[in-house]
């Protein structure tokens, strides 16, 4: 039976794909990372950094321009009335007219000086703790993935260590999904306290189910390799 691709090639492809995923996540999240960094540092950012900020209707002078990086809240929205409701508008330069729009996801900025209710601070605190756990789970996943790929690189497939690493990766992914779901729910509760919009409902942004699906699939693969290991051991003890 012809092999599709050698194991070594597949291991390299896995490494490259993982690298792409990391770089892509970094690029996508870099703007938010920078904002969070400035907010965390609490350093003044000056008017010139936010000159594109749209002036709210009730703003006086330059008060609307943030002196210190604001708290940014990520909201998932749905229109209150119907799916055919587009309550907002945006200038379309091509047609020189207003195009009806509605927001699906929004980043809302609150000034750093905003006094947050205690429940919001509690939910945010727990979310931060859960985020730390998620980070630890990701690091654990990456370490086990690296160990697994190294082992496969040397053509050692049906080994107990590989099965353990696959199980760890699967469990880490399922755990990440559960932790993200809880963190997102707390974040949703905090957003509901802080925001209310005339035309939109704030929705609970569910965690990406790909983590759960991949985790379970990897656990299944670990079980299949475990069966293979038993067959290999039996074969080695067949004289």
């Amino acid at each position: 039976m012809k092999r599709f691709l050698s194991l070594k090639t597949l291991v390299w492809l896995a490494g490259i794909a993982f690298g792409f995923m990391i770089v892509s996540s970094f690029i996508n999240g870099f703007e938010d990372f920078k904002m969070g960094f400035y907010r965390g540092a609490g350093s003044p950012i000056g008017n010139n950094r936010l000159t594109d900020t749209v002036k709210p209707n009730n703003a006086v002078g330059d008060d609307y321009k943030f002196q210190i990086a604001p708290d940014v809240y990520f909201l998932k929205l749905a229109p209150k009335k119907s799916i055919f409701n587009f309550p907002d508008s945006i200038e379309n330069i091509k047609t020189k007219s207003k195009t009806s729009t509605r927001y699906y996801r929004m980043k809302a900025a609150l000034p750093a000086s905003t006094l947050l209710p205690s429940r919001v601070r509690m939910y945010s605190g727990i979310s931060v703790f859960l985020s730390l756990l998620i980070t630890v789970a990701y690091i654990f996943l990456i370490i086990n993935l690296f160990l697994l790929l190294s082992s496969l690189q040397s053509e050692a497939v049906f080994e107990m260590d590989n099965i353990k690493q696959l199980r760890m990766i699967g469990i880490a992914l399922v755990l990440i999904f559960i932790l993200m779901s809880v963190a997102n729910y707390l974040y949703f509760l905090a957003n509901k306290i802080l925001f209310e919009f005339e035309h939109y409902n704030i929705l609970y942004d569910k965690a990406d189910t790909i983590h759960l699906f991949l985790g379970v699939v990897i656990l299944i693969v670990a079980e299949i390799i475990n069966r293979g290991l038993k067959l290999k051991q039996e074969n080695e003890l067949t004289i």
């Binding site: 051991q233 039996e234 003890l237 067949t238 004289i239």
Partner: protein
Amino acid sequence: MPIIVNLDVMMAKRKISLNELSERVGITPANLSILKTGKAKAIRFSTLEAICHELICQPGDILEWSDD
């Protein structure tokens, strides 16, 4: 284990060493040792045939069932 391997008994009767028998049968001494010590999970008919041929015996002389 219910199947007892009496290979060492037949080898002593025929006065043949492990290395010599493994060479004649065509398997490694390590594998023959696994068989002799009862750690083997299975034996191929081709291997059993070769052992019986060299030791001039029946399969029942080498393999015995016990209800332990």
